[in-house]
């Protein structure tokens, strides 16, 4: 079915609130999912994959600051979804980059990393150049984004890099498979971010190694997605939509006579 952007954002926010997210986290998470979906980057599919995990993850432990100096910080999300745990780490990076010109932030042990892009868009909107990198990325949902003939047949190690220019609403994204896997290849569930006040850090693939480009999203493609979404609505999966709606009902209060009169009107208006 098709929904509007505002509808998608609103339902996600309610669903996240119902899942126990604090208000600020719920609206940020909703913005992150809706942003991905707006640009046809499968935000809802990513949420759908992580939903059970989110529902089980009732841990209240916030992201922990492991190390911090003037322009570098390492945080541990303790396996939480980036929807719940990444925004303050990103804000810390933003603060450091503003003070020092460039900052590096490592968020260890986080889940649903794709979804971090929506918040990076916000930082870019506030004038920051941002690049995020992660390894062991999810393979793209469709191969349609990959240039013909470049699709990988086996993908032993997938890396993803996302770069926003300051002020740009959309990033450049590259997802690629590395065939010559380095010896040191511990599973990595972190994200590394570089933020720079004055220098843009857009991804540009250059390597001695053999790479297969799995997905490449250019700024202009993404802007066209947005235009399409505003014109035609945003496609969502019916079952996931129903599930989010059902979750959101947890916030609603049962109705009785007292409550019905709490709205302040009668129920019939035959005047």
């Amino acid at each position: 079915m098709k929904v509007s952007y505002n509808e998608l954002q609103g339902l996600c926010r309610k669903a996240f609130c119902a899942m126990g997210f604090e208000d600020g986290d719920a609206s940020d998470a909703a913005d992150m999912v809706a942003w991905m979906q707006l640009y046809e980057l499968s935000g809802l599919a990513a949420l759908g994959r992580g939903l059970d995990f989110l529902l089980e993850d009732q841990g209240e432990q916030p992201a922990e600051l492991i190390y911090s100096d003037g322009d570098l910080a390492v945080l541990d999300s303790h396996g939480a979804s980036v929807l719940k745990s990444s925004t303050l780490a990103l804000e810390l990076g933003f603060a450091k980059a503003r003070a020092r010109g460039l900052a590096v932030i490592k968020i260890r042990h986080c889940h649903n990393r794709q979804l971090i892009m929506g918040y990076l868009a916000r930082l870019a909107g506030r004038g920051m150049n941002v690049t995020a990198f992660w390894r062991n990325a999810q393979a793209p949902d469709t191969a349609a984004q990959a240039p013909a003939g470049e699709q990988a047949t086996d993908t032993p190690l997938i890396e993803q890099v996302v770069g926003f220019r300051a002020g740009s609403p959309v990033p450049e994204i590259r997802v690629y498979a590395v065939h010559e896997v380095p010896e040191e290849n511990e599973p990595n569930d972190g994200v590394t971010l570089i933020m720079a006040n004055h220098v843009d850090l857009l991804p540009s693939l250059r390597s001695e190694y053999q790479l297969d480009l799995l997905a490449r999203h250019q700024e202009s493609d993404l802007l066209a997605c947005r235009e399409r979404a505003m014109r035609d609505g945003i496609e969502v999966d019916d079952a996931l939509w129903a599930r989010l709606k059902h979750l959101a009902t947890r916030l609603l209060v049962e109705s009785g006579d007292a409550s019905r009169s709490g709205a302040g009107a009668g129920t019939l208006d035959t005047d």
Binding site: M1, K2, V3, S4, Y5, N6, E7, E22, D23, G24, D25, S27, D28, P62, A63, L65, T87, L88, E91, L92, F94, A95, R98, A99, R122, G125, R126, M230, R231, D232, G233, T249, R250, L251, L252, V253, E254, S255, A258, S259, R260, G262, A263, G264, A265, G266, T267, L268, D269, T270, D271
Partner: protein, 596 residues
Amino acid sequence: MRREDLASRLSDVEQRLRLRAPDEVMGLERLGSLHASRLSFVRSLVRQMARQRWQISTTRFDLDAEGHGVAIYRLQTPQARYHGVIFSQPLDAAARSDRVIAEAWDVTFGVVEGDVDDSLLEQMAANVPLQEAGRQHPRLLVLSRANRSLRNFAAFLDALSAGRQPDPAWLTRVGYLYRTTAVYGNGKFGIADFDRLKHNPDFQRPFSAQMLAVYLLRHFSIEQIEHMARARAPDGAVAMAAPLRRYLGIGNSTGLGMAPFLINHPQLIQRWVESREKALAQVSGQVPGEPERQRLVTLVARAERHLAETLTEDSEQSARNQEIASALPAVRAWLEQVPLAEELWQELIDWSRQTLSLEAQELIHTLLLELYPEIVDPFEDQMGVEEGLELTPDMPLVRLKQLIETHYDWALRHDFGDPDERYWFWYRSVEKEEPRLGVRGAEPGADRELKLAIAPRVADTHGVIDDFLSAHPRALVVEFLIHHPRHKDIIRRIQSMAETPFGEIRANLWAREMKPMHLLRTKLSFFGASRFDPKSARWVRITLFQGAPLVEELNAEPSDLIDFDDWSFPLEPGQNAEGTLSEPHATPRQHAGVSS
């Protein structure tokens, strides 16, 4: 010389010096005393339609004798074409409810961007009548519904089909044939996002597409009842006389559902209130001549009679109306007696602040705005804003604390431990998510409270910041938040709003003495509502577009735009013994049911 030729804009500095203090402006009771003004959205829309020569035509009018069927209106602007599509259907009396929990209505309608072909019409016919339960098309800009005022409908149909004009007093009691119960925009139920209209010069102002939908419904209500009268008495029926058509508005029934919008869009509220206040500051510094003084006297007299003709069963609102109506003769006397000083308008504002009720004071402000269209009207382009609350993570925490104490001092004045200061909680019901108020500790649902009360949240955060600073005096906001992430939302709001004085309603929305009606009226006044008729402390009926120019007058491309726009505080048309209707005159008079 035209009135506005005498006007000249004040410098930014003088404008700033003349702005009223936010503590005064943003008090809930004062906001709840606002009247519609020339910056209200219905007024802006009518001006825009006239200025840009918008044309409205009927492209389909398939109604049966009972008025049921489909009507489609085409709107042509210089930019684009739109269509208003209205479905009218029988409604069981037992299902006629204004509340959001209703599931059927007399009419349902939408405004479509572009043309309506058969497939779109089919899709709309299957979904628009279902409203929230339907899946709406992304080319719909507005989705709405309305119910008949049965008494007015019957009286008008009887009169017109009997070949006579209905008594205008019907519209003085209830100013419409139809009352909308929700007018949805911005992506609700699948319709177009507001974002899509941001660069569309036709509807980029807040709520302008919604107001257009209501205006089209008004036109439909006239055409429909005339059609029904003709069907009932093909030879004897008459059309509604122009003064009566003009005196016919569209009602709106509104409950607590409006409250969350006011709290959740502080940047927009800031723009609305700031624009009005800046316009008032400009006007207060104008040097009046005798024509302006006389014009204001005339406007006061018209408002006085309009208020005398505003009937409500609500005793509190009735008392407020009477209080203003009885104060206005003194205002006219003051205006006629004081010397024509350069600072006359500022003196009037100061005098009214000392002597008049809040509602009367705000009425004077609204009328002053009428005097200087050239100064006031440009502010209508300032009413919209790109919304977005953002953190400033590198702000020193001590600076944030200072900001709270300086700009949110109003939030720190309450003792939230006092049961009367934490009496209410806001929530959404399972019944169509209708917003409601419950008594904390006495009714279920406080655990699922909507966080609309900003003051207690600010106070809570201020306390936690205070503690944190004693151990970390040089901390940044982001460092505080990493330790206390639950405060992110409110800190983002404080940081974004601190420098904008008119965004926050300065009240404790938990307090037992808080009156939700004030919240509703705040928003409705910016829409352009008149005839506030509270049905309880949480439910109000109002009228929109009463007195507004008609579609045929718009289509005739008026040459005098000032005159075309002069329709605030509409008055009941006169009717002679033969039943002939005439344009009203603004002579103050007594009206049955209201003494002054």
